[in-house]
Symmetry: C2
Subunit: 224 residues, 2 copies
């Protein structure tokens, strides 16, 4: 557990529901969290609320730039409309780091149809902007924030894609730390599937009146 204290995780654009959910689970797992927002006041307020719920003081609210600058691993949870501008603005702070991109390229109002960005996926778009000194890893898109902010077990596996083996393994470690089952889902080109699955799952939620559809990998393993 103590090793986790050495790794500062930033959640950039972290005051939204998905960001809060990941901050809550990762703080509970023992990581210090830098919760970033364009408005530092809002970040501080949300951090205080989460800290109170956790009964600890491990989440700190900051501006996105300061959070990105001080972290070892950054997690990006912004709406797709803010994706490109946020990544561009934080580029200098992310050099030499791993960026976990949770962004889903939804195109409201029709959020149940898969939209494929020109770069192939949001994660590839981020990788193009950031260049080779930042390792972008796509993960966590399919896990409903509703699950993350509760304390029950999450019945949704996490597919992890990215161009760098070591970065993928690091992210798989974060997934395991918060009690989820992660899968190495291959190169960053596969992010189109992981991101697009979110639109498919939103559609399934609507059509079948479910709240937080997810996926699980099945196979010749013992059933969980």
């Amino acid at each position: 557990m103590s090793d986790r204290l050495l790794i500062n995780l930033a959640i950039l654009g972290g005051t939204g529901k998905e960001g809060q959910g990941l901050a809550y689970r990762l703080a509970k797992a023992g990581y210090p969290i830098l919760l970033g927002s364009r408005t530092p006041d809002k970040a501080s307020r949300v951090a205080a609320e989460l800290n109170q719920r956790l009964g600890q003081d491990s989440i700190r609210g900051l501006g996105n730039e300061e959070a990105a600058g001080r972290c070892h691993i950054a997690i990006l949870t912004v709406p797709y409309a803010a994706h490109r501008s946020t990544v561009q603005a934080l580029k200098g702070h992310l050099a030499g780091k791993v960026l976990v991109d949770v962004t889903v390229p939804l195109m409201p109002p029709d959020v149940t149809t898969v939209h494929v960005p020109e770069a192939g996926s949001a994660a590839q778009e981020a990788q193009q902007i950031l260049g080779p000194t930042t390792q972008v890893v796509a993960a966590f898109q399919n896990v409903s924030h509703g699950h993350l902010l509760e304390d029950h077990p999450v019945h949704c596996d996490v597919l992890v894609c990215g161009g760098d083996d070591e970065a993928r393994q690091q992210v798989l470690q974060l997934v395991a730390a918060i009690g989820l089952v992660g899968w190495d889902a291959g190169p960053i080109e596969n992010a189109v599937v992981v991101e697009g699955l979110s639109a498919v799952l939103i559609g399934i939620n609507k059509r079948y009146k479910m709240h937080a559809a997810g996926i699980r990998i099945t196979g010749d393993q013992p059933p969980r």
Copy 2:
């Protein structure tokens, strides 16, 4: 059961493993099957083998064109390299029908990286070629043929995408008939996810030494 006898299903390019698996399961469910191949002799031989295994005589081997011409619903199971030419050749026989496209746009030798065709997906490519008189539905790509050719329950859900509501519902009925759980996964634009998942699952099979990884939709439903 008797209604099923009225619906002729063609499995085009059906002598491969996935085609055989679907023919086996659908024949067992009571549907008459027209098993199509470029080489009618091969289709007849494979049909005879499957009939013997089934202890019934409901699969008939034919050329692809004859099978497509005589069927009510066609299922296409060809390697991606043969996709465009097969769809073009059968276009006239598929007008007014539903085509279930099982094709995965894999680009050997790297079959663990998602490849997105120019049309968006193999299913959209087929829809473009066939025009609006044929309803293309993407389905069954993620179910391992190993599962289909065995008699055990299949632990893999089937995501069904397509532009026409009624066609999607018909295909969901076929999925249920062979004992699988199907999900209406929305418009044909979502086929990129369903097709791409196959490459992700092949990668997971390799990395985790599994044989037939699949997916299951989870959510606020009773666990299965």
